[in-house]
């Protein structure tokens, strides 16, 4: 039939043409080069010892914790946001508004409110870290379990309720914050903004495995995520249980978000920014290809921002705020573009 008149190979591969494959390879290589470059820069720049000497490695080791934290946060935020946007069929929301951050802020604030400055120390430590993660995942599962199961299960209602509950928590936190003394508030304020140096190396033995397991499960389910993206009806028609798949993905997303938030604090628009960029960079629907690009992009954005801020502007503390700001601007740009949701 038509095969004879069309002299090319007919294939349904994700990147059907050589050009698309080349483009994807260039994108990934560029991101890898940037990631390696920034990692090296963060470790070696301003290192007073000559490269390769014992002293060099000692200093580099100290800085390496930060880089590892960035990698964990990058994987968490990128994979979680892309998966979340797929199951909610919506490319402008991020999982971070689902109450994770409000819960984190509420925990931190009430610690300081009830225990004073010592409260900040009280919520530090591995057991507390694990507890916070458990709290966030528990809260998310409660919400999903309640709102997605049953006959009237509706994803958007669940999203809105998550946001509104988060808003309620936030207004309680705000109230407690205004009763703090200015010095207590200063101590608290440092914890309320996402910052890589918030993380304690002691958390990593828990954070890394959690992050890797959840992210791996999501990446392995890429093919099923591709089907979920077709929508509920088409997904069911193709024999995939849409609700079960959604619950599974949302659970893993909540683990990733909880790890990231408990580790470094709120990063509201990082995930959004990175996912939006990754869709452009990867230029495909296929999650097997989107996920690596997203995680790499996220790492490049984080490490690049820290590198530039530290070594060019000497302003280490504002990095996350700058990322948030840029993410917010991209958000405005995206919603004002014509399209459908």
């Amino acid at each position: 039939m038509a095969e004879s008149t069309v002299p090319r190979i007919r294939t349904s591969r994700t990147l059907p043409t050589p050009r698309a494959r080349l483009r994807y390879r260039i994108v990934v290589s560029t991101l890898v080069v940037l990631a390696v470059g920034f990692t090296f820069g963060l470790l070696a720049w301003d290192n007073p010892m000559p490269v390769g000497s014992d002293g060099f490695w000692r200093i580099a080791e100290l800085r390496a914790t930060n880089v590892v934290v960035m990698a964990v946060v990058a994987i968490c935020q990128a994979i979680a946001t892309v998966s979340f946007q797929t199951v909610t069929n919506n490319r402008i929301i991020t999982p971070s508004i689902m109450g994770f951050e409000a819960l984190y802020v509420a925990v931190q604030t009430s610690a300081v409110y009830f225990l004073g400055v010592a409260g900040v120390l009280a919520v530090k430590g591995l057991p507390q870290f694990v507890l916070q993660i458990a709290l966030m995942v528990g809260f998310a599962m409660l919400l999903y379990g309640w709102l997605l199961s049953g006959r009237y299960g509706n994803l958007q209602v669940m999203l809105l309720i998550g946001i509104v509950v988060g808003g309620g928590l936030a207004s309680v936190s705000t109230f407690m914050q205004r009763l703090l003394t200015p010095s207590e508030f200063d101590v608290l304020a440092a914890r309320l903004f996402g910052n890589v140096s918030n993380a304690d190396a002691a958390y990593l033995p828990v954070a890394i495995p959690l992050c890797l397991v959840a992210a791996t499960l999501l990446v392995l389910g890429s093919r099923r995520l591709n089907i979920v993206a077709l929508g509920r009806d088409a997904c069911t028609g193709l024999g995939l249980n849409h609700r079960r798949e959604t619950m599974r993905v949302l659970f893993l997303v909540s683990v990733l978000m909880a790890v990231s938030t408990a580790l470094v604090g709120p990063m509201t628009f990082l995930g959004f920014l990175v996912a939006t960029l990754a869709y452009q960079f990867a230029d495909t629907y296929d999650h097997r290809y989107v996920f690596p690009v997203a995680a790499l992009t996220c790492f490049v954005v984080l490490s690049g921002a820290y590198f530039v801020m530290r070594n060019v502007f000497y302003a280490n503390g504002v990095v996350s705020i700058i990322i948030e700001f840029v993410g917010g601007l991209v958000f405005l740009f995206v919603i004002l573009r014509k399209g459908r949701l």
Binding site: S12, N226, A234, T236, G237, D283
Partner: protein, 223 residues
């Protein structure tokens, strides 16, 4: 090919989506080819019956061929074999989408996109194919084309197609059987010749219908 017809809100689409297990049942059971749709695992059912509703989900950067390839998911779980690729090619050619197969979905017209989705469910290679108003938003030419494609699929590919139609004349001309639904119950079932009569249609649609002899068979006139 069986057409489901009936007035608005009669339950045609509900019936179809229940058979296609997109909607849970309130009571009773539905069997397709001897399988109970609520008991049979969804992934097994996906090899027996395929169902298509009006989709308004947009996936960006998805080509026609990649969409059609999703139809192989129940068989391949996403890992396409050479045989799968052949089935995909056949489905695409069958619906005259060969020239468009590398286009992205958002570059297509509504009619072309509709055809791509139909190609996807045909690609699923199920004995039964359920389609919910596939002629919606299609003009005369595209509607006729779509019905001819479906007719051929029923004849050449040996599929059983159940289709919800709004236009009784399309049903009368292309379907083998017509099933009239009203107020949530099947009120008439028969060949077009049996259904396309003044009193049956008038009763089903609650509006005066006269059936006249057209050049290609009976035509219902209702205005």
């Amino acid at each position: 090919m069986t057409a489901l017809v009936g007035p608005n809100g009669a339950g045609k689409s509900t019936l179809l989506t229940m058979v296609g297990r997109l909607l849970g049942l309130d009571a009773g059971t539905i069997e397709v080819a001897g399988y109970d749709v609520t008991r049979t695992p969804s992934k097994d059912l996906a090899k027996i019956v395929s169902v298509l509703r009006q989709e308004n989900h947009f996936i960006t950067r998805l080509t026609v061929r990649q969409l059609v390839a999703f139809g192989r998911f129940p068989h391949s779980k996403g890992r396409l074999t050479v045989a799968d690729e052949e089935v995909i090619s056949r489905a695409i050619d069958f619906l005259d989408l060969t020239e468009l197969e590398d286009r992205y979905l958002d570059q297509l017209s509504g009619g072309q996109r509709q055809r791509a989705y139909v190609a996807m469910v045909l690609c699923q290679e199920t004995e039964y194919v359920l389609l919910d108003e596939p002629l919606n938003n299609l003009d005369m030419r595209h509607s006729v084309q779509m019905m001819k494609h479906l007719r051929r699929a029923a004849a050449e590919l040996d599929r059983t197609i159940v289709i919800v139609l709004h236009d009784i004349n399309f049903a009368g001309h292309y379907a083998d059987h017509i099933c009239a639904v009203k107020d949530g119950a099947v009120v008439e079932f028969g060949t077009p010749a049996e259904i396309m009569t003044d009193d049956v249609l008038t009763r089903v649609f609650d509006t005066p219908v006269t059936v006249v002899d057209g050049p290609n068979g009976p035509l219902a006139v209702y205005y």
